[in-house]
Symmetry: C2
Subunit: 454 residues, 2 copies
């Protein structure tokens, strides 16, 4: 790798991600105005309330074009939660009269202001991040920690690192992505001392990788990447990052060092597959596809995706146990939702082997022998003795995966609660080439599925 090539790549990326002086100036003045107006509305209600701007636009780590301004109203801890929520909404409506309520751990107001997307969030002003009453109380501490430490150079590297994570598809701590949050990226750049230092280190990571900027961690974690929150010694900032995304980050870090190229910072754009494309892939692969399609339960994405994953595991584990041998599988969700499974085995025999107790365990063995020995039709074949046990070959209840998925047995597997309710309401089982109809809604997801890359 040429030193220059890497630096040249970074320079090219910064051209894209650095906000222009005009963009900075404009954001600064709008944010100042917002903070001022919020302060006025807040102190009118509680004299010692204060207001902080937080997030990447507060710290100069946003990438060009981001239009998010986060404003937190901190109330003293002697007011109760209900009052805080009421005042929070009142302040929000006063500042953003066209805004609407959203709900995280408590309600807040989201609205547009001078062309920016503004979150106006009430929280408690606690003494330290370990004393928080709800997750949002932590944010001002994160903001203070980073603002003190990120100079302009590091802020630039943060922007590059965010672009890198977006390009390789690991940016975002939502539970669909299970990737790197903005705060995590900032901490990693800060801790390693720059973007280049970060990717050089990541290229040689041996998970579990543990960073503890304040050297104050007190517990152990199972996660492959651990970054102890500098403002809370018991929290792993990277807890949500999946092992797959840690490995992806490592892969792309090495690739970038080996062949620096600004294109590595561009998200892969895939053309959605047509039904015919899906059929072609299935023909090439020779797998047996099945899908369970249903109306997704009415829950937020961060609740939906863990439920979809749990349901997919429940279904594929049971299909494996029944000998259909999951080849690969994915959950899909948009207007509808689907559990899409490619199987290696299309059909099982009409009979299944059922091993009974060892013959020497007299009571159980005799019970087994009498039960199956009394059947005079074939199957069952047996009982016979194999090694030390009775065995029968009895009729199998589902010879195909579709047979199982269409039966009530589906509800014996571990499903996410909302998904289970949705399936109880109604679902459709697609088999073989019929799964190709999913391309109409999930063409891009299926394109990614059938062109898997690190």
């Amino acid at each position: 790798m040429s030193e220059d090539a890497f630096e040249a790549t970074i320079a090219a990326v910064r051209e894209q991600v650095d906000p222009s002086p005009a963009e900075r100036e404009r954001l600064r003045s709008v944010a100042d105005e917002l903070v001022e107006r919020t302060e006025a509305a807040a102190t009118e209600r509680v004299a010692d309330a204060d207001v902080v701007q937080v997030g990447s636009t507060a710290r100069g780590t946003w990438t060009a074009g981001d239009r998010d301004i986060d404003v937190f109203v901190r109330f003293p801890t002697d007011i109760d939660r209900e009052t805080l929520e009421r005042y929070g909404l009142e302040v929000g409506r006063a500042v953003l009269p066209d805004g609407h309520e959203e709900y995280a751990e408590h309600p807040y107001v989201k609205g547009e202001y001078e062309g920016f997307d503004v979150d106006l969030v009430p929280c408690f002003r606690v003494d330290s991040a370990t004393e928080i009453r709800s997750a949002v109380d932590r944010t001002p501490f994160h903001n203070a920690y980073l603002s003190e430490r990120l100079d302009d150079d590091l802020a630039g590297d943060v922007r590059v690192a965010k672009a890198f994570c977006k390009g390789i598809g690991v940016y975002g701590s939502d539970l669909r992505t299970q990737g790197f949050s903005g705060y995590l990226v900032e901490l990693l750049v800060l801790e390693y001392g720059g973007f280049r230092e970060l990717v050089s280190a990541a290229a040689d990571w041996h998970p579990q990788v543990e960073l503890d900027p304040e050297d104050h961690g007190t517990r152990s974690f199972d996660d492959p990447l651990v970054v102890v929150d500098p403002t809370d010694h018991e929290r792993n900032v990277a807890a949500v990052v999946s092992p797959t995304n840690v490995a992806r980050f490592q892969h792309h870090a090495r690739a970038l060092l080996a062949e620096p190229d600004p294109e590595r910072f561009e998200p892969r754009e895939l053309e959605g597959l047509s039904p015919a494309d899906v059929r072609n892939h299935l023909a090439t692969r020779g797998t047996t596809p099945v899908a369970v399609r249903f109306d997704p339960p009415d829950v937020v994405e961060d609740q939906l995706w863990p439920q979809l994953r749990k349901s997919l595991s429940g279904v594929t584990d049971e299909l494996d146990r029944r000998g259909f041998d999951t080849f690969r599988a994915t959950a899909l969700a948009d207007e509808t939702a689907a559990l899409f499974v490619e199987l290696a085995v299309a059909e099982r025999p009409a009979v299944e082997r059922h091993a009974g107790p060892p013959v020497h365990v007299r009571d159980h063995a005799s019970g087994f022998y009498e039960k199956y020995g009394a059947m005079d039709e074939t199957p069952p074949y047996g009982p016979f003795v194999d090694d030390d046990r009775y065995v029968v070959e009895r009729e199998r209840d589902c010879r195909t995966a579709a047979g199982f998925l269409r039966s009530d047995r589906l509800f014996d597997v571990a499903l996410g609660a909302g998904v289970e309710r949705a399936l109880q309401d109604d679902y459709e089982v697609l088999v073989g080439d019929d799964v190709a109809v999913l391309a109409a809604e999930f063409g891009e997801d299926l394109a990614a599925y059938f062109s898997p890359r690190p």
Copy 2:
């Protein structure tokens, strides 16, 4: 169970298995004559050679109609092995001029004499069974031990026990049957004190079952049934009995006690299956049958069967590893030999999942990624990252079991040496309904296979 019903059953069986006084008398006089003539021929060569009649006809434990007389010529240990073999054959030919040579550990003569089948075997007269020079030297010790201890009552029970073992298919220590030898049956009856006592005990066996009549055993065994040889403290007389046959014996012991019936002493007679019968069974079962048929190697049965079993395991293990999932299988041997396998899986996808090293193992991981990443046709799908590893979905070499069996890969599995040579010479792979042609040669074996009973 009624006491009387059991005794009545035994009485009925003894009607069948007890030799008549005339049969006994006739056997006695022929055996005496044989021993006398053999002594004459033996002492002519070595003055202090002696002759013993051994086996069930020597001990009164034969079942009616058996026509085997075993005569052993014991030579002193100061003659060498070659001389013993030469004298043995000379004596054999003198006594049985129409006999022929056979070979166990050394050659002996087998022939007919007055309508009886006679084995005339030379051995060394050692001081104890632990000093034997070849396995046959042990026989006179067995004979002496049993002759001293088996009275007429016990001898009658031995005959019943042998008939029971024949009826349930576990009689014979040959390596095809892996069952109970005559000597073992006699020891079991002796040790438990009778047939009824034996089956009552067997009904409650908890393997490992260990009997040591002389209480002199010095080593441990892995076998489910251990009967330490009273004439050799290091030998398990039941070593050859398979776990399946121990469990069968237990099953039938309980069945006999529960419902005594002379029919339980009759071997199951099965009508051979026709090809159509075989096809019907396969249709009912919905399995995927395959068979490898070949000319059996020219070795004795006790060498052939272990080789067939080893080859069958080698093939089924590999078919399992390749995802074809053996349902049940058996070896067949007569004029031809066949490894017959019923599979649960007919076909695998065109691609197979191939997991590479963890991404963090940099050298191996990079080598894997470069190898598969450089291929620009699909498959392989990937490399992609799953959990902490690179994975590709690459082309599978054999989509069907028959494809594998017809390929050279068959010779990568563990095969018996003679079977491997035979297959290298030539073999045929039968698939699907074509396996039904095996019925012509193996109709009865297949009838037993498709009507499995304990």
